[in-house]
């Protein structure tokens, strides 16, 4: 699984769960249908492709959840986190039902498809639903581990997978920050696939780098322990800049802290190419992140 596309790793893990647990159901809206053919062969009644109908994808998943199943629904991020938002909010959040919603291609992974296929606001939208867990793995192995840890916990969970992956997997757990590097000057939190570039961008700087794969639940105690009494916190996040602020600020609200959020500017992108090229344009590559981190030291 090393370096495998996160979407494939997720599909393999979901298929394993479907085989192992008769209460797992997979609901799709055409996207990635080819990745679930083995699952479908195993039990076609629990692998439902609803067609290009994302509202019904979520509604059908809710129907499965009402009958005690653990649904896993999947599409591209804009088409699972944004288009059927009200179904996520009401059919799951309000009704108190659990499922896993896996989005692929958050922000501008599929940059060349244009803004119709971008979703840097997906996580902000998901955080607006009380009780929604939000997970952001940085590798396929992590996506599989987080899925296994949460799929049956009765809560709605949004897991955002991406084309960008970190160089190596971390030992991750839901709601736990991992300290990847220790330093004295400041603390940098890297979410999901931003870790490898954040480590590169802070090479030679005396900073602590912490790795987060959960936005909600967030590791409040873990962050408070890492940052000390007079913290300067820098957050590197792959979605709209400041999306994680309520979680991060809330964790250290008892302290007087300075914050720098490095993420996607709040503007539509009218350009194409690859996600790497857009990252560079927006200052989310190694050089751009290093520049923002260094400048954040200035008074």
């Amino acid at each position: 699984m090393d370096g495998a596309p996160m979407r494939s790793s997720f599909a393999a893990a979901a298929t394993e769960l479907l085989v192992d647990d008769p209460r797992v159901a997979i609901v799709l809206a055409e996207i990635s249908e080819q990745l679930f053919r083995d699952a479908r062969r195993h039990d076609p009644s629990r692998v439902v492709n609803v067609g290009i109908a994302e509202q019904t994808m979520v509604g059908v998943a809710a129907g499965f959840a009402m009958e005690g199943f653990h649904p896993i629904a999947h599409s591209l991020s804009p088409f699972i986190a944004e288009r059927p938002f009200e179904q996520l909010k009401l059919d799951f959040g309000y009704q108190g039902l659990g499922a896993t919603f896996v989005g692929s291609g958050g922000s501008y992974d599929y940059a060349s498809e244009g803004g119709t296929h971008h979703s840097p606001g997906d996580v902000a939208a998901m955080l607006a639903i009380p009780g929604m867990q939000v997970l952001i793995p940085g590798r396929g192995e992590e996506a599989a581990a987080l899925l296994r840890a949460t799929y049956a916990n009765g809560a709605p969970t949004y897991m955002r997978t991406s084309l960008a992956i970190n160089d190596r997997p971390e030992d991750v757990a839901v709601g736990r920050l991992e300290v990847v590097r220790r330093g004295a000057w400041t603390t940098v939190i890297a979410f999901g696939p931003m870790l490898t570039r954040t480590l590169a961008a802070t090479e030679g700087l005396d900073v602590t780098v912490a790795y987060a794969t959960s936005v909600s639940p967030f590791d409040d105690a873990g962050l408070a322990e890492i940052v000390g009494d007079d913290p300067h916190l820098i957050v590197v996040e792959p979605w709209f800049e400041g999306t994680s602020a309520p979680a991060v600020v809330g964790a250290v609200a008892h302290l007087r802290a300075r914050y720098t959020f490095i993420g996607v500017p709040r503007a539509f992108i009218h350009d194409y190419g690859s996600w790497r090229e857009i990252d560079a344009d927006l200052g989310l590559d190694v050089a751009g992140i290093r520049d923002r981190v260094v400048r954040s030291r200035e008074p």
């Binding site: 067609g51 019904t56 509604g59 059908v60 809710a62 009402m66 009958e67 179904q87 059919d91």
Partner: protein, 228 residues
């Protein structure tokens, strides 16, 4: 033991107890006969065990005008009739749109239009997956609710999944601003068995609810225009 007629009369009085003048709740008179026939003659449900695995499932998709449903559930013993006094009141359990977490017998929390049909398809498929062939799923949508596109995603999907355990009730009180030429033609073209019936005729409704053998069933219950 009440006779059916006595019980229905009590349902009507309970509806008045819930609504009163100041809390006039509209779309209830249009649905009461359909709901009554479902709960009195069609659905296999047990008020003493509202989560029984083998029960039939009813989803009031439109969520609007739930007083008739509340009154029937109370009359059948799902919850105390005294709850109706707190309809729409702070601290009460019965809101203007039903909440499955507060009310025994309410399968889905609805009110935002266009959610119930998709959930009903999921429930019907899940029942089949569990190997439960007896329980049926009935979902009620209003004719104006069917303006919502999400319903038509579900209406297209149900025949594709061969869900003959699913029944859609179209409660047509002609409230849609968009004219519908023919429910039979429209739903039939999606692959549904369609029966059109007087929405206040109990015997005709009961006959119409006999499941279709090989496809999902749509029962179009027509009530007079302007009746809510």
């Amino acid at each position: 033991m009440d006779t059916t007629t006595d019980l229905l009369a009590r349902v009507r009085s309970l509806m008045g107890r819930a609504t009163g003048d100041e809390k006039h709740e509209e779309s209830s008179t249009s649905t009461i006969d359909v709901l009554w026939v479902l709960y009195d003659r069609v659905l296999h449900v047990d008020p003493s065990d509202p989560k029984a695995e083998g029960r039939d499932r009813f989803i009031l998709s439109k969520g609007h005008g739930p007083v008739a449903l509340y009154a029937i559930l109370a009359a059948k013993g799902y919850f105390p009739e005294s709850w109706l006094d707190g309809f729409m009141e702070h601290g009460g359990r019965l809101g203007a749109h039903p909440d499955r977490l507060l009310v025994p017998g309410i399968e889905a929390s609805t009110g935002s239009l266009g959610h119930g049909a998709s959930m009903a398809v999921g429930v019907a498929q899940a029942l089949r997956t569990k190997g439960l062939s007896a329980p049926r799923v009935v979902v009620l949508c209003g004719d104006a609710e069917l303006n919502e596109g999400s319903n038509w995603e579900a209406i297209a999907l149900a025949p594709h999944l061969h869900l003959d355990n699913l029944t859609l009730v179209v409660l047509d009180n002609h409230s849609s601003s968009l004219a519908v030429e023919s429910w039979r033609a429209r739903l039939g073209s999606f692959g549904w068995a369609v029966r059109e019936v007087d929405g206040h005729d109990h015997d005709a409704l009961e006959r119409a609810f006999v499941p279709a053998s090989d496809r999902p069933l749509a029962v179009v219950a027509d009530v007079p225009e302007g009746e809510w």
